[in-house]
Symmetry: C2
């Protein structure tokens, strides 16, 4: 993530978490929902996933105050078969839906080895990694996917069709923090385009197209992201985004990304009907646990021992995030001047003390 | 796939299938194994996946005659929990392991909604898509992944570490052929590099590196593929390849790609111990079947209706394959002059009639 601004201040995660919960309480958000939102945002911010961390709180406040998000949802889980179920999220916060679904998936995996939960009538759930990570922290392999509104072109397509449709996969590693892949199926997120446009910085080639569908590196001309793989191999990124659509829109009965109301649109009163899908597996439902553990350790040791290119570094998915988390746990989570202003404004409007 | 050679001849799939089964029978391969190999190779060749189709037969004959592959395996399936199991493939053909595993996964999905099978002590299974496709043909959502020997660099790594580690995902579509994504987690396969080197054609940028780990477009200098996403975003392709390693090497107790004997190495007597992983889901274990069916249809209609760039075409994963299959079913499967020579040589050596 490019640094567009030096941090104006740093605040301890625990302090930010209290602020988030208070702000949401002021919006009549029930306790399970505000706990889940704050937990997911702090998890992302600690890891350095700033696009999906604390900066989203003002957006969520607008969405819940506008009526798009239900502050006191009556979520209902139906276990349709021993290994599968459907969570009706009642237009509540996606973060509560995500943590709830992953608990049900874990419970089913405990019984039958594997569990999958499709979630419908939900909303933005923050970083997909939070839920896969929760599975891995508890010793399971976890997968989490979600559809999103149209921002990404199809391969050879003119305009946006898929969302950035993230895929998050996490696996436990003995005596280490988990393996954690959390990736959009586009090369870059849309907020990167906005950041680059704001400071007139050139984008790398092959990541966005202009109004005519032509490649550009001028962020101010970008109207659509390209799928991972760019102009030559974007059929792969688009195919992965399609897999995410099937799992989290088709298999949940929700609208696919192209038909979804935009997350950042003006309509803050209509629920968007977002779908997610979660999968959890017990490693010892396949091989003995010590075999799995040894395999993870050996694989990651070989990976991290690989010689790096000059000036580069070979990392496993998650390594950068855990390093950032250790740093931020010690030094506090950075807020840039825009975050500070947004949080001060929120504090004033909701009559609660600002965190920084 | 670039055409390096006009087809020397075309042969009906059924004729090729008979030839393949005869050739394998001459190598003492048992009936289930030879059926499975021929079925997978013909499936791939009909769809135009030439890298994983009929061209592999001479390689498989060498591998089974050399002792690397067990011609009469005693595969054993253990259902460890109601939704999960392990298939010990006894160093037999990966194609038989794949079709066997997907049947067990389907049977478990019928009972508990979802089924996953880890396969160990297997061998090359051809195109990953064959097995996901079999699930989709029967009305299920299917996923199939496999590790492979080291040909792909890590992001910022100097040399090969992961295999091309394919991800295949298939879903049923009412009254249409399935949605079928079958992709390597590198941008291109290694045999594309070899083809381009043979005709001195330049590769696209960002797909291979030379001995020093520097980007090159000169196929003759390539020593390693880059992961999908290339020099800038290869951490995503590498992360996906890692997900495949966890599922098909760690969760099967097999060696990860970096430690695997090379598929095309000289040692044709030592079993490689390849691992695969398969997942099958019943759509109606999540939502009503008609909701799923309508969702698939609506999604693919919207997708195919998207305006294309000039000179391009917007396709769903599988569309190109099904078009090729219709053409090849009508006109025969093309053999280039190298295939014709290899098949003639095989026919002579095994004393069976050549197919063309």
């Amino acid at each position: 993530m490019p640094r567009t601004d030096e941090p104006a201040t740093r605040v301890a995660g625990a302090v930010l978490q209290v602020f988030m919960e208070r702000a949401l309480a002021r919006c009549e958000v029930d306790e399970p929902s505000r706990n889940a939102v704050a937990r997911a945002l702090i998890t992302a911010s600690r890891m350095g996933t700033d696009s999906h961390g604390l900066r989203l709180l003002p957006h969520y406040v607008r969405a819940v105050q506008g009526g798009r998000i239900n502050p006191r949802p009556a979520m209902r889980f139906t276990r349709r078969l021993p290994g599968t179920g459907y969570l009706y999220a009642d237009d509540g916060f996606g973060h509560l839906a995500g943590y709830t679904a992953i608990e049900h998936a874990i419970a089913m995996a405990d019984e039958v080895g594997i569990g999958a939960v499709a979630v419908g009538r939900s909303s933005h759930f923050g970083a997909a990694g939070c839920y896969a990570l929760e599975a891995a922290r508890r010793g399971y392999v976890g997968l989490s996917v979600c559809t999103a509104d149209a921002l990404v072109s199809l391969h050879h397509g003119q305009g946006p069709f898929h969302g950035t449709n993230p895929i998050a996969f996490a696996a436990p590693v003995p005596d280490q923090l988990p393996y954690l892949l959390d990736m959009a199926t586009s090369s870059i997120p849309w907020n990167r385009v906005q950041q680059y446009a704001a400071i007139d910085r050139e984008l790398p080639p092959g990541v966005v197209v202009d109004r005519q569908g032509n490649l550009t590196t001028d962020a101010s001309q970008a109207v659509s992201l390209l799928p991972l793989g760019g102009a030559d191999f974007g059929f792969k990124g688009a195919g992965l985004a399609g897999m995410v659509e099937v799992l989290s829109a088709t298999m949940t009965g929700m609208l696919h990304g192209f038909r979804l109301l935009p997350m950042s649109g003006d309509d803050m009163s209509t629920p968007r009907g977002v779908g997610h899908c979660f999968l959890v597996m017990r490693p010892d439902a396949f091989v003995e646990r010590d075999v799995f553990d040894r395999g993870m350790r050996d694989y990651l040791k070989d990976l991290r021992d690989q010689p790096a290119l000059e000036g580069g570094e070979v990392l496993a998915p998650g390594d950068r995030e855990w390093r950032c988390q250790a740093h931020r746990d010690a030094e506090g989570i950075p807020l840039d001047s825009a975050n500070v202003a947004a949080y001060a404004e929120l504090a004033e409007r909701l009559s609660i003390p600002a965190p920084a």
